[in-house]
Subunit: 103 residues, 2 copies
């Protein structure tokens, strides 16, 4: 069963197209993480918040990624990271047109 | 630009296949909401938590849905609802294989 992870943290930018340029290499590396399916990158410039919504194949793979990623964020000076793991109700998610596979 | 909404709240069940049966009609109605793109239904039976990750076309449409949905949840006795709205960084999300369209 797929596992969804909500990762949220304060960030001071970059935003939008600059954010996309700055984190392109990081995003490419994430595609190679074990069990990784997809990530939606989120940003709120007005509130100074960023993060990501991830889908992983298993809880263990999600936890291994988050442990590594939290350490990486700390290296960027980002330490106030909140993480919520959830199971996915696949029947209802499919009914509501969510893709549970890599696009 | 698509808007992602994280909705989280305590829930005492039902879970899994029973949850899918109980909320099938609700899920079908969500497909008809203005600006709705997709929803991932989340559940954590051990922690007693549920919610959803939504993608909407605009912030206004997301806010209108959440106002209605929060009232509906209160009718189920669920009042401790947290909501986070974010812009989506579409370039990075596409690079990380997320679908920003209805499946």
């Amino acid at each position: 069963m797929a596992v969804l992870v909500q990762v949220n943290f304060p960030m001071q930018g970059p935003w939008g197209t600059e954010m996309a340029e700055a984190f392109r290499g990081l995003a490419e590396s994430i595609n190679a993480e074990p069990g990784f399916i997809w990530k939606v990158w989120i940003e709120d410039q007005a509130a100074g918040l960023s993060g990501g919504i991830y889908l992983f194949e298993t809880r263990e793979q999600a936890e291994a990624y988050v442990a590594m990623h939290t350490e990486r964020l700390a290296g960027f000076g980002i330490t106030d990271v909140t993480v919520v793991y959830s199971d996915v109700n696949e029947t209802l998610s499919r009914l509501n047109r969510a893709s549970l596979k890599a696009a």
